[in-house]
């Protein structure tokens, strides 16, 4: 039982994610993700009349990077301290698989980058660096958060760093290159734990962070036992309205059972009070940023650069509707108790009452963002206004998710619904850019279409069964 490379073990390690992927029939989700990634690249390539090989290179690079993120994550999931410590050879084989596949990915990524922008000696180091970073982001999820704080200052510094590197004498440059490559090669296998105490601590940290991030992405609260203490305190900055509202409902004997049910079901950012607070914070920040700008070109430039601002605002507005189904599926045991609250409407009446409340919240949030857009629209070019309006219009149908039948929710939900919507909204934005559809037309059309679809769904809710616990009428 030496340190030899054992093909049977490698087959088992690689077979595990492959079998899980096949068993869970995730090909639709994979295709949706690939399409999500491909659509902006293909559209941009088409718009810029880029050479097909260039587009192919960019597309392959993107797919390979995302593919490595997913692949390394799947290997890391097998790297639990228990298995690493107690199953003979498992940790060692995982490291071997990790290194072998990293080498293959580096080669493939270098090829794809060369297709995109020609061969450059920096590609191998860049590819290795990206792979190491993604591997460590899988092991230490807090890096996902930290990276956002690094990217901002790093982007303006890229040019001087590149200039400094270019100005270095060749020998020093290669020495630095070799050192960086050695560092990356040392860090790569260190992603995998060996079942010791350090691995145990890292694993616990990872579980806690994953729970935090997952809960956040699903718009629900985190169980106290897995919550990081400082994050709980930080979270209070955002969730205090929910607590206040909860306390108010408990104190007030006249509060409706439906409001009590809703405050329990929709914890965290999915609740209307928290959403309102977050939108207000975003509005204040916008006013502070845009209020200081007087010149039209500066304002337009800022709005272009901060395209992420619109995406962020819409995420705040439509996020609860996208996360609601997942939040409901996660809290089924609680729901079984909550529906017994005296005074709650039952059956279809409860389904409609909840749907009405959630839909109203989503429509108000969407209208809030549209209002902001209408305020700044006169200050930007017609083309950019059309793009933003098309993007906004494409996001309205998300609110219809609040009219779905909770009793028919699938037993397990993935984030596929959210993934599938990204390309639709992006394509809508790009269509708006090219065709310059007037904002009134795109927004008005979306409202009419959603109104018609929403009315049909509302009628269908009249026949709905008891909505909670969610998924009761679905197949297991």
């Amino acid at each position: 039982m030496g340190a030899a490379f054992k093909p049977t073990q490698q087959r088992a390690l690689l077979g595990q994610p492959w079998q899980a992927w096949r068993n869970q029939a995730q090909w639709r989700r994979t295709l949706a993700t690939l399409a999500t990634l491909a659509s902006p690249v293909l559209l941009l390539g088409y718009w810029q009349s880029a050479h097909p090989l260039t587009v192919l290179g960019a597309l392959l690079s993107l797919w390979l990077v995302v593919g490595w993120a997913a692949f390394s994550q799947l290997l890391l999931r097998q790297n639990t301290p228990r298995l690493a410590h107690l199953v003979p050879g498992q940790a060692r084989s995982l490291v071997q698989a990790f290194l072998l596949w990293a080498a293959l990915f580096v080669l493939a990524l270098c090829g794809a980058l060369s297709l995109w922008d020609g061969w450059h000696p920096a590609w191998p180091l860049l590819a290795l660096g990206v792979l190491v970073l993604l591997g460590w982001m899988g092991r230490e999820p807090w890096l996902w958060v930290a990276i956002w704080f690094v990217i901002g200052p790093l982007v303006p510094a890229l040019r001087p760093i590149t200039a400094w590197l270019t100005a270095l004498p060749a020998t020093t440059g290669w020495l630095l290159y070799a050192l960086a490559a050695l560092l990356a090669l040392g860090l790569l296998p260190a992603c995998m734990g060996r079942g010791d105490a350090r691995h145990q601590r890292a694993y616990q940290r990872r579980l806690r962070w994953s729970a935090q991030l997952e809960a956040h992405s699903q718009g629900r609260g985190v169980a106290a036992r897995v919550q990081l203490p400082w994050m709980a305190r930080l979270g209070l900055l955002f969730t205090w309205p929910h607590r206040l509202w909860w306390a108010r409902l408990v104190r007030n004997p006249a509060s409706t059972p439906l409001a009590r049910l809703n405050v329990q079901l929709m914890r965290g950012p999915a609740h209307g009070t928290v959403q309102l607070w977050l939108l207000c914070v975003a509005l204040v920040m916008m006013v502070l940023v845009l209020g200081g700008l007087t010149r039209r070109d500066t304002l337009e430039h800022t709005l272009t650069v901060t395209a992420g601002m619109w995406i962020g605002l819409l995420s705040l507005a439509m996020g609860p509707s996208m996360q609601r189904a997942q939040a409901l599926c996660r809290d089924r045991p609680d729901q079984a108790l909550l529906v017994l609250l005296p005074g709650l409407p039952q059956g279809a009446a409860l389904a409609r009452a909840l749907a009405r409340r959630w839909l109203l919240q989503a429509l108000l949030a969407w209208a809030f963002v549209v209002l902001l857009f209408l305020l700044v629209a006169p200050q930007i070019s017609a083309q950019r206004a059309a793009t933003a309006a098309a993007f906004l219009a494409a996001c309205l149908p998300i609110a219809l998710g609040d009219l779905r039948r909770c009793d028919r929710l699938p037993a397990r939900l993935s984030a596929g619904g959210f993934n599938a919507w990204i390309p639709v909204a992006l394509v809508a934005g790009l269509v708006g850019w090219w065709t310059q559809i007037p904002p009134a037309l795109s927004l008005g059309g979306s409202v009419l279409l959603c109104g018609a679809l929403g009315w049909r769904r509302w009628q269908a809710l009249a026949d709905a069964g008891p909505p909670l616990p969610a998924g009761r009428a679905s197949e297991r």
Binding site: G15, Q16, Q19, A197
Partner: protein, 308 residues
């Protein structure tokens, strides 16, 4: 077959167990003379400002011993079992598995250990057959016939995703996985918590077979005392971070008595616990007690109450 189903095997071997280890139970004594488990001065806590869960614990398990670990909720049973396997780093003390430091065991020792954790760590996206094939590739020894037999007897669905199995079915699969490579040391952390009575009976039967056939050392923590009475030749009580007492169960039940009334204080034995006027005493000198002293036999539940 019929005599097998009457479950006589549950009790018969235990009666003949020697106090030390029960080494006579299995067909051939293990050739390895190194102790499966040796713990010395183990100290472990979760936070610096909290009292440690284990406080200088000493514990030794002989080869072939079957020990039931008992303790109240929060006593540190899971912590002890995890530290014993090297899954937790002690603040002080040393743990050795088959003569190697528990935190640095090699593959040969790994292959000799089976572990059923309290919380399942099975891959939920796989089915039972795929999961077992995964682990088979790592172990030098794998009893396929036993695996097939258990899967069939315990009615574990083989083509259904593990994530969709019930808690009891997952627990059975976890046990099959731990038994498949025929370990010499089996550590079971509340293995029957999710099993129905029939499932528990099947599991205990398998466990006894394993001990009889291979002389496996077993550490088993559970709160179901009736199960422990059926299989555990030794019981260890964990209290205040230490093994308060470890002894063969039969011996304890035969030796211990509840004493109450005049003269009870002059019992002449080892006082294990005191509940108001009632004393739990090991090996009291019954002949020296006044006739008015009330003497009662004890059950495992009484011992748990007094010692855990």
């Amino acid at each position: 077959m019929s005599s097998f189903l009457t479950l006589d095997w549950w009790r018969a071997p235990r009666r003949s167990a020697t106090p030390e280890a029960g080494l006579a139970l299995h067909a051939s004594a293990p050739s390895d003379t190194r102790l499966p488990v040796a713990v010395q001065g183990l100290r472990l806590g979760y936070a610096k400002n909290h009292a440690p869960v284990l406080t200088g614990l000493d514990w030794t398990l002989q080869a072939g011993q079957v020990v039931g670990l008992l303790g109240r909720n929060g006593a540190g049973k899971t912590t002890l079992l995890e530290a014993l396997l090297g899954l937790r780093d002690p603040q002080a003390g040393a743990v050795q598995l088959f003569g190697q430091p528990a935190a640095q065991i090699d593959d040969a020792v790994r292959a000799r250990i089976g572990y059923v954790p309290q919380q399942s760590d099975l891959f939920e996206g796989l089915n039972a057959r795929q999961l077992l094939a995964y682990f088979r590739s790592f172990y030098p020894r794998w009893n396929e016939a036993k695996v097939e037999g258990l899967l069939s007897r315990w009615e574990v669905p083989q083509d259904q995703l593990i994530g969709k199995l019930s808690g009891g079915q997952q627990q059975r699969l976890s046990i099959i996985r731990a038994l498949a490579h025929e370990p010499d040391l089996l550590v079971l952390d509340e293995p029957v918590a999710s099993l129905d009575p029939l499932g528990r009976r099947d599991f205990l039967r398998e466990l006894v077979e394993q001990v009889l056939d291979r002389g496996t050392t077993v550490v088993l923590s559970t709160h179901i005392l009736s199960d422990l009475e059926r299989v555990a030749f030794n019981v260890a009580f964990l209290k205040d971070g230490r093994i308060r007492l470890q002894a063969p169960l039969d011996e304890l039940i035969e030796q211990c008595r509840w004493l109450q009334g005049p003269g009870a204080e002059d019992h002449g034995g080892e006082l294990l616990a005191r509940f108001g006027p009632r004393l739990l005493v090991r090996a009291p000198c019954l002949s020296g007690l006044p006739r008015e002293t009330l003497v009662q036999l004890v059950t495992l539940e009484d011992l748990f109450e007094g010692l855990a």
